[in-house]
């Protein structure tokens, strides 16, 4: 089971957690990650951020990542929500919530999904700073984080 949303709209973590749990009394653990827009990045103030994506591919890529997590760990349900469009500091960008019987599966799968999302899902961030707009570059640590799962 999975729920994947790509949207300009904000999400409500409490409501998503309630929906994820609903009707499955086997769930003992939910690991959850929320990414937020920070007000500085690489030493510059960030006034706003534009999140571009590749609409025809985004959903499909997220589905493939979640399906792969489901093959590697014993999961009961997964929710992935990713915002697109214009965001401001403090805004929520992404939610990954993973429900399982025991916590080890939930933690590993949640981190795996984030690591793969960061390197495989077609989103790009453009930041507005006092020096003008700039495209965010992928961090080398993101590639390393994803690579460790294939060891």
């Amino acid at each position: 089971m999975m729920k994947i949303i790509v949207s300009e709209k904000d999400f409500d973590i409490g409501a998503e957690m309630t929906a994820l749990r609903a009707g499955n009394p086997q769930i003992g653990a939910i690991a959850n990650f929320v990414g937020l827009v920070r007000d500085t990045n690489g030493g510059s103030d960030v006034a706003s951020m534009l999140l571009e994506h590749y609409p025809a591919m985004t959903h499909r890529a997220l589905e493939a990542i979640v399906a792969e997590a489901g093959r590697r760990w014993s999961l009961l349900d997964v929710t992935v929500i990713h915002r697109v469009g214009e965001l401001r500091p403090g805004d929520q960008i992404v939610l990954v919530a993973v429900a399982s019987r025991h916590r080890a599966d939930a933690f590993s799968a949640c981190e795996f999904i984030m690591d793969y999302l960061k390197t495989q899902a077609p989103f790009w961030k453009k930041e507005q700073t006092p020096d003008g707009a700039r495209w965010v570059e992928q961090r080398a640590t993101d590639d390393q984080a994803a690579a460790r799962w294939s060891e």
């Binding site: 499909r60 077609p122 453009k126 992928q138």
Partner: protein
């Protein structure tokens, strides 16, 4: 054969194209060959798509390496390393 080619983010801005249809001779059936054709346009095309540059390619919405086959009607996307999450 005809391909729909899409560009995203910094590459879209730099190349000045979001989407185009490219006609290739039959038999040019790999990602690498499409890139060769694009590089022959010179200028920013040759620069941004040079072999050492860090960009990604997707064929029909799946991440694809240089050797992945392309066929008539395929959608090929070229974009920078992703930065979501």
């Amino acid at each position: 054969m005809k391909l729909k080619v899409l560009y995203f983010a910094r590459l879209r801005e730099r190349l000045g194209v979001a989407e185009e249809v490219i006609e290739l001779p039959d038999g040019m059936g790999m990602v690498a060959m499409l890139l060769d054709v694009l590089r022959t346009r010179g200028g920013v095309w040759a620069e941004e798509l040079a072999a050492g540059k860090n960009f990604r390619v997707a064929v029909n919405q799946d991440m694809a390496g240089m050797e992945v086959p392309i066929e008539d009607g395929d959608e090929v996307a070229i974009f920078p390393p992703v930065t979501g999450g």
